[in-house]
Subunit: 241 residues, 2 copies
């Protein structure tokens, strides 16, 4: 069985200018891993229609799922919904069910403004993604899932979306910490990686108050293989002077 793959497309000048620190990609990565959906690429692009359309078409052709964040608010620089419609070659309009969600969020007695209605514009053929925080929905077109950039709303939309997606075989992992720099264990690690190609063996150097160290992370879908690799690593650690 081949696990589903995913890409994330982050849309927003504010990330590229250094004004805002991107937070949603790390959250998404942590949520997909236990579902067995492999996040294979993250791209951050500016609020530029042509660039967004090109990135969307490249990523949606290549991955089971594409998750986007940013650019679905009410202002002139929120151009994601139009870019999605253009990428799929479909129309886009205010939709009654999206309008009803916004009406419920602002209250029955208030009139929706043109800015509210801008957030009810949904590409034809999309499924809405619920937003329990502020009402304005995200949406999915085929394998592209369009969500807000504000982290609390991104998290809420992901909560609504993920249970409906097809999961893969869960990715499992184990980790061992070495109190030596990675150069000291590189050779046996290379041998272990060659011997167990079904696993991914990552080496993550760090430096703290007491000097250099390395975390070794073993990942795969078979628990017994991971345990065997961890035993080998523990023996290696005991053998170090």
């Amino acid at each position: 069985m081949t696990n589903p793959t995913a890409a994330m497309l982050v849309i927003g000048d504010e990330i590229l200018s250094g004004r805002t620190r991107e937070a949603n990609a790390h959250h998404l990565a942590g949520r997909l891993e236990p579902l067995g959906i492999h996040l294979r690429e993250i791209r951050v692009v500016p609020d530029d229609h042509a660039v967004i359309v090109e990135a969307l078409n490249a990523l949606r052709a290549r991955h089971t799922h594409v998750f986007t964040s940013g650019g679905i608010g009410p202002t002139h620089d929120d151009i994601t919904a139009d870019a999605i419609a253009a990428a799929f070659g479909v129309g886009i309009d205010v939709r009654d069910d999206a309008r009803a969600l916004l009406q419920a969020a602002v209250g029955r007695d208030r009139t929706l403004t043109p800015e509210h209605l801008r957030m009810a514009r949904i590409p034809h053929g999309a499924d809405l993604i619920d937003n329990r925080i502020s009402g304005a929905p995200g949406f999915s077109v085929e394998n592209v899932h369009v969500m807000a950039g504000v982290p609390s709303i991104f998290v809420a939309m992901l909560d609504a979306l993920l249970p409906g997606l097809e999961a893969g075989r869960p990715l499992l992992s184990g980790e061992l910490r070495f109190e030596v720099g990675e150069g000291r264990i590189a050779a046996p690690l290379r041998d272990l990686a060659a011997e167990m190609p079904q696993l991914s063996i990552g080496s993550y150097p760090f430096r703290d108050g007491s000097g250099y160290g390395t975390n070794i992370v073993v990942r795969g879908t078979d628990r017994a293989s991971i345990d065997r690799a961890l035993e080998r690593l523990a023996a290696l650690r005991r053998s170090l002077p």
Copy 2:
């Protein structure tokens, strides 16, 4: 004058699995902005030779500079240097000056291990980037600048690299905070953006203890235009009930 553009390529499974929170892109963005180098794209890709080569070739053809982070350590999953050589179609070997830097870092009396020497493998025709932290150098091949993923080393390499790059006209910015949601000011913002196309006017909603608010950021290369836009925004803010 057209400002130079840049892309960043982050290489590492650990970001995509959610294990590590990426930190270098935000630092790079903040360093490039005052130099007038426009960061236009960030990509995160796994430790996969073919994927790295393809991303490198796409980005280096499109941008003045490409900055990479990750994958230049001593272990089997550090494959960035080979991918760079492959992308440029050049050879790669241990280089004497890189070896001398590593020898100086470990001390004259110690013998370099194969793992040290792996970090002295440099694509043909590259310029080294100094690493004041741990010795092992980064390198530039044409417009691609290859740096470490460990944040303290990435920062040190950038310190060594940036003064030698051609800068553009510095990007300037100004910011004004509104204590209303962005829907309330979307229409006048759209008008202002249409009227001053030489500026980029971004709208960044937030929510804090006291409710919804919006930061408006005005960016451009002409201080007088930015000041004019900020005066208009201040007048808008005074006019709100």
